[in-house]
Symmetry: C2
Subunit: 448 residues, 2 copies
């Protein structure tokens, strides 16, 4: 049965309306009068539920069409996308828990979006954040019962393999040549992704003021790009830890190929097992996986392994204030992940009296990084589908779009925190040295 806005029907006794929603339909929303304009209240109970959903999401500027042909247009202004909802079950899921179910329905194809998905997600993210405290009860209850598993070494290993051991071939399709899977740094927005990832590594190395023959320990090294950059461009010796088997195998092979197998040791092990003493501690994109409950232990570890005048840098996705990761991303993409607020990040450093020298927020750089990744991912879409399936493609597209939207919306932050021992006066006098040669594109900033 097809309904369009403006062809009202009474909801009472509607055989398609689940019994427990009848009261809601009767009480909350009156059916529109016959002959109402397209902007008026929709006719069917489904249309009215949809209108309620859109209202609770701040009336995003989208057209939404239902399985029955009914369509809602935005009250005013342009529509940035057309959203198709394929069945009533999906509509009800969205009503109950939009944060999680949008992803689920998008992946199984029961919700489709034509148009600017990033912009739509940015608007939805802002709306969900605005209404978090006044959210309908089901959302609050669901939020309350979201399970948090502690990141023990075993759980961590499972979580990390879930994401990072998908296969190097997959990541090669859309990351830069060196497989840097963290926020790039664009000295100017027109840097290429390759240039910006090199600029990021240089930026980190300059912040740390690496000197030849110094020792560095890296916690969470991905495919090894930063460790190799440090060794080849700055002449340091690196021990790099990671619990993703695929990444460690790849990084070790690259070190051998680059002839720095002696200078860079890649170790397949948990950061908690780091031993020894180092001039520098660096961790780019691992803190998100550490779990808030382990921050104190991480701080003690850094304290234990750093030399007297040691310094360190932690680069991590963050939140404006303590908050869980989006429920769908946490379940489907990054199990166990928790991006901390900056204040929470400092819980790593404060108990051991580390002195924070410099914090930089690069969230718009992460949005731009994700824009590059998405473009490459879309170009490789058919290949990804062959390797996995359509559902996988949809999930990863949604994740890349959603993350870009979250950084643009200010929902997510990217903090680089530089620190030193509280009593060490071996700290840079100003930060001017970071910007001396920054206009250079991809030449590296090595001081060898």
């Amino acid at each position: 049965m097809q309904h369009t806005v403006g062809s009202p029907r009474r909801s009472e006794g509607d055989p398609d309306t689940p019994r427990d929603l009848q009261g809601f339909a009767d009480a909350g929303l009156r059916p529109a009068a016959p002959g109402a304009t397209p902007d008026a209240a929709p006719a069917s109970i489904d249309g009215r539920l949809l209108r309620y959903l859109l209202q609770s999401l701040g009336d995003p500027p989208v057209r939404v069409s239902l399985w029955n042909g009914e369509t809602l247009a935005p009250g005013s202004g342009e529509s940035i996308a057309l959203v198709r909802i394929a069945n009533r079950a999906s509509l009800l899921k969205l009503l109950a828990d939009p944060e999680f179910q949008f992803g689920e329905c998008f992946c199984d194809g029961s919700v489709e979006v034509e148009g600017d998905l990033v912009r739509l997600l940015e608007i939805l993210i802002r709306a969900l954040s605005d209404t978090a405290s006044s959210a309908p009860t089901p959302r609050r209850v669901i939020e309350r019962f979201r399970r948090r598993r502690a990141n023990t070494p075993t759980v961590s290993r499972g979580n990390i393999r879930h994401h990072y051991d998908l296969g190097n071939e997959f990541y090669k399709l859309w990351l830069d040549r060196q497989l840097s899977y963290t926020c790039a740094y664009f000295p100017a927005p027109d840097f290429t992704l390759e240039q910006a990832q090199i600029a990021k590594m240089d930026h980190v190395c300059r912040k740390l003021r690496l000197r030849p023959e110094e020792t560095v320990v890296e916690a969470g090294c991905g495919w090894g790009a930063l460790a190799l950059h440090m060794a080849t461009r700055f002449g340091v010796r690196v021990k790099a830890f990671n619990i993703s088997r695929e990444q460690i195998a790849y990084a070790t092979e690259r070190a051998r190929a680059l002839g720095v197998g002696e200078r860079v040791e890649f170790i397949e092990d948990d950061y908690r097992n780091i031993r020894g003493r180092f001039d520098t501690f660096v961790s780019v994109g691992m803190l998100e996986h550490v779990g808030h409950e382990n921050y104190h232990e991480l701080g003690s570890l850094i304290d234990r392994v750093l030399e007297r005048d040691g310094r360190g840098l932690i680069h991590s996705i963050g939140h404006l204030r303590p908050d869980r990761l989006n429920a769908w991303i946490e379940k489907r993409i990054f199990p166990g992940a928790y991006p901390p607020s900056l204040r929470e990040m400092l819980e790593v450093l404060e108990p051991c009296s580390f002195s924070v020298l410099d914090v930089e927020n690069l969230r718009l750089h992460y949005a731009l990084t994700l824009e590059h990744w998405l473009r490459r991912f879309d170009d490789a879409r058919e290949r990804v589908k062959e390797m996995y399936d359509e559902r996988f493609v949809r999930a990863w597209r949604l994740y890349l779009c959603g993350a870009q939207a979250a950084f643009r919306a200010g929902e997510m932050q990217l903090f680089q925190v530089l620190f030193a021992r509280g009593r060490s006066n071996q700290v840079p006098w100003t930060r001017a040295h970071l910007y001396d040669r920054q206009a250079e594109r991809g030449n590296g900033g090595g001081n060898l």
Copy 2:
């Protein structure tokens, strides 16, 4: 009666030893054998108490002479200063509460220091911080009962007048020409104080990306240097708040003399009474006086007065971790002051979802600023003594030396925290613009 190290005498029944210290003397420290070297245990109970005091302070490299002629030399290495203790009462006070009593005894002349006072204080600060948790009981008890008065508007007014209303003539003797009484910024260490204070104001203005005709509210404006700099060099309109009457009168007069009375309004009022809406919030050197209990309220105020794309900067002395100010400084120099840890500073910003864009730690710049102030203060010493008295000169000298030592020792930090509304994308792309013209000396960085 005179004793020197190496001329031991038995402590039992020593008529000079207070009865309740006999047990301590008997149990803890054995008298040295006759003919012992100068490094051996001292003879008298006074000498042994002194030795105990020095041990509890990590054996600083100083010679100490007592009223009775007895002298202790450092166990090894050079001595950086000679400390004279004039009577037993002072020695006992130092034993009971060195953190507070060193200042008291220094001011009344019963403890004198010949030599490098800054270096000595740096060593003592490091030692006191090292032994804080294992401090003798009296120190811990005293620390526990240190009174904290809430910074209500009335209390704040009294606290601020105690320090800042000492008289503009006094501050003119040793601050820079514009009377900036906060950490300067030295793009290179050989900048003069005048140049470095201008560079600091430019640095702050550039971080805030001030544009002509924008509106700025300043909380705690001192003698108005920054407000006037912003108006004359960056063309903005400023409302500047301060509860020090002398400072406001001076600043208002300067605005008139500079012909910017229309653009800069100095208001003698508590920051809590700021009303209106502004593009920028700035506060340099006020947070230390706000009190931790008022951070949430300060954050709400900033949220209330900032425009949608507003941004702000808070510049404050800080600690590595939550800690009280040195007891003597808090009582005699800065009543009610509390330098927060960076994590505590973020309690101002996080509840209202401000996004921290940039944190810079300038503690060594504050040490250098204080070095300049001390040199000028010492040059003006006779004049200060005429205006006040010898005790005042001693107190202020100790404060300027102690603060310099605290920044060098890492006991104190200086944080500049730049922030914007969490959802505003009107944020600088990188920080390179801060360093474009930084080698310029005192030309100002105005963009008019």
